[in-house]
């Protein structure tokens, strides 16, 4: 039963688990004398260990753990293919950057448990991307969510954070119960939990149309919550605002991408033959999500809330690729998520860096940033223009691909809505940059208030900006990877 492929198929998860256990064991004993607090013994920051470990996992997995032809392992609980592998690498990258961003967070950074929770959540996401069985899938989703509930509410003394954690938990528990109901009906009607066996059951058309539609609706509720599509988006702004900033960044990028990985596999493998039924529903969801997200982002005055609404809108754009139900469609979704993870992590990285010094996430805190810290302002320019979809950044190529997939699938109206929404988006992204570049601090000399960028933040931001530019200029190899991932679904 066990071959080397079996172990390779869960290599990243195993390595992350080992890293997590090492972290839990070593961290309490690993103390240094901290001169700043009068020579008291302080726990050493576990962030370096986590981030370094995750990047080592990334390198090892890319070197030895690459998949060959799609195979099923662990009694077909796991599908070992490029789609899963590519997403896993994305999640590990995102988690590594998040660990760097957590390091200098005043209340979270010095507590090893936070990094352990982050690692556990990453394990869950990796399993989500490769799960080929409803039971594994459900467990993976819960393994992803439960650590995130705790991380969102990590700052016990901060009532916004507690509220965020609690709200996320309540929404998550409810939607996951509804989705589980859908899964159980799926099993009840077909007698199997394996996704690929389910696909055969759907091919033979043994389910009545209303039953199938009901099932799909139940499942969409759970996954829609994960990717924050519009009727299930209410948690996002409050949770993003209250949670520690790096955690919000992780929620809006890796967690969302994991949701899309599941949607892609579930809907293109299991429900592929009934695509006409759900594609129309997804098209409407996509249009509403883009519009509502962008319009609600317009009046925001708090950068974290604005990014929350913008991340809702981005889920809408990415969904166009799913609606297309084509190879190009899935390729574009994968590429979109790649560009989005890199860009949005950079955006949240800046919020974290600036918020740490100014103690505020309001737009007003960003007045004169270009004079206080020119390099930081430049990073922000790159990230926000990429979010808005401007060349030569990754966001531009991503949007082009998604819209191209929409046109190829004859969803012209959806693409028109998408383009109109991009214009709205451009407005509010530039609005923030207006504070950064044009506005001045009142009666203050900006150069007397520089914004210190500590080493972990500098590393994270440089890596992300290079990524943003690389994705927008040398995009062919990334497109190739996305394409290889998409091929596994057809």
């Amino acid at each position: 039963m066990f071959t080397s492929t079996t172990f390779l198929s869960i290599l990243p998860e195993t390595l992350i688990l080992i890293l997590g256990v090492i972290l839990l064991i070593v961290e309490p004993f690993w103390k240094v004398k901290d001169p700043s607090s009068g020579g008291d013994e302080q726990r050493r920051n576990a962030g370096w260990l986590t981030a370094g470990g995750l990047f080592a996992v990334l390198v090892i997995s890319v070197l030895v753990g690459r998949p060959g032809d799609p195979t099923s392992t662990f009694g077909s609980s796991i599908r070992f293919d490029w789609l899963g592998f590519f997403f896993k690498m994305l999640f590990i990258f995102g988690a590594g950057i998040t660990a760097l961003l957590l390091m200098d967070h005043e209340k979270v950074g010095r507590r090893g448990e936070a990094y352990m929770l982050l690692l556990a959540s990453t394990i869950g996401m990796c399993l989500m991307a490769s799960a080929a069985d409803l039971i594994t899938l459900y467990l993976a989703i819960e393994t992803t969510s439960i650590p995130l509930y705790v991380l969102a509410g990590f700052m016990l003394t901060d009532e916004h954070s507690t509220e965020a954690g609690f709200k996320y938990l309540l929404f998550g528990a409810m939607t996951s119960a509804i989705m589980l109901y859908g899964f159980s009906l799926l099993y009840g009607f077909t007698g199997t939990t394996n996704l690929y066996a389910l696909a055969d059951a759907f091919k033979s058309g043994q389910l009545a149309a209303p039953v199938m539609f009901g099932l799909i609706v139940l499942i969409v509720v759970g996954l829609g919550f994960k990717v924050s599509v519009v009727p299930f988006h209410f948690w996002a702004p409050d949770v993003y605002e209250g949670a520690p900033t790096p955690v919000s960044g992780f929620l809006s990028t890796a967690s969302k991408a994991a949701g899309f990985a599941v949607i892609a596999r579930l809907f293109l493998v299991v429900f592929h033959d009934v695509a006409v039924d759900w594609a129309a529903v997804f098209a409407i969801l996509s249009a509403v999500t883009m519009t509502v997200g962008n319009l609600l982002a317009l009046p925001q005055k708090n950068l974290k809330r604005m990014l929350a609404y913008s991340s809702i809108a981005h889920a809408g754009y990415a969904m166009i690729g799913i609606v297309a139900v084509s190879k190009l469609g899935i390729t574009s979704v994968v590429f979109y998520l790649l560009a989005y993870i890199v860009t949005n992590l950079a955006a949240f990285g800046i919020v974290m860096t600036v918020g740490r010094v100014t103690g505020s996430d309001e737009y007003d805190a960003y007045r004169g940033l270009s004079r206080r810290s020119p390099w930081l302002a430049l990073v922000m320019l790159a990230a926000f223009l990429s979010l808005a979809g401007m060349p030569p950044f990754g966001g531009f190529i991503a949007k082009v691909l998604v819209f191209a997939a929409g046109i190829q699938a004859n969803y012209i109206w959806l693409v028109v809505i998408g383009i109109l929404n991009s214009i709205v988006g451009l407005y509010y992204y530039l609005n923030v940059l207006k504070y950064v570049y044009l506005f001045r601090m009142e009666k203050e000399d900006e150069e007397a208030h520089p914004i210190a960028v500590t080493r972990p933040y500098a590393i994270a931001l440089v890596v992300l900006v290079l990524g943003i530019i690389l994705l927008g200029t040398v995009f062919a190899p990334w497109f190739g990877f996305s394409n290889a991932a998409a091929m596994n679904l057809f």
């Binding site: 039963m1 726990r43 009694g75």
Partner: protein
């Protein structure tokens, strides 16, 4: 009447009485104990249906772990007796209407629709036996089984994080 049928009716009566006792009890601890009784009778139902594994799970997980947790929480909160409840004004009429609808539906299905259940295929003798469950759990579902251990570890870490008292200020 076969012995099974007699056992079923006796148990059914106990189960319903226990459920009613749980709902109508004014003392939370009594309610919780009634629920334990209800879970216990349901476990015996499972044994009657030749499903010993589920029966034992029912006893150890529901009647054992979960209900003990309930009792602990009740004790710790010190809310043994319920305060006089302030029912919402529209709650009773709504409950009445919903109950009527449910009774109507059940009556319709029982008396007016000829339900033909068809032939339900008899499950194999070992279906759901502890051996079969164990075989499936450690072969086909080995990975999900291991994932639950990660989940439990995280639940512990999370519980500690959320309940620990910070020693004022940064770091600990």
């Amino acid at each position: 009447m076969t012995p099974d049928l007699i056992a079923f009716f006796v148990l059914a009566l106990i189960a319903i009485a226990a459920a009613l006792g749980m709902l109508l009890g004014r003392n939370v601890v009594y309610s919780a104990l009634f629920l334990v009784l209800n879970f216990g009778t349901v476990a015996v139902f499972y044994i009657l249906l030749d499903a010993p594994f589920i029966a034992l799970t029912q006893v150890s997980v529901y009647a054992g772990a979960i209900m003990v947790l309930f009792l602990f929480v009740i004790m710790l909160l010190g809310t043994e007796t319920l305060p006089v409840s302030k029912a919402l004004p529209w709650q009773r009429p709504l409950a009445f209407v919903l109950a009527l609808i449910l009774a109507g539906e059940a009556g319709y299905l029982l008396f007016f629709r000829k339900v033909t259940s068809g032939t339900i295929p008899q499950p194999v003798q070992t279906f759901g036996s502890p051996q079969a469950v164990g075989q499936a759990l450690f072969n086909q579902y080995l990975l999900p089984f291991e994932v639950t251990s990660v989940l439990l570890l995280i639940a512990m870490v999370g519980a500690i994080v959320l309940t620990i008292k910070e020693k004022g200020g940064q770091g600990k």
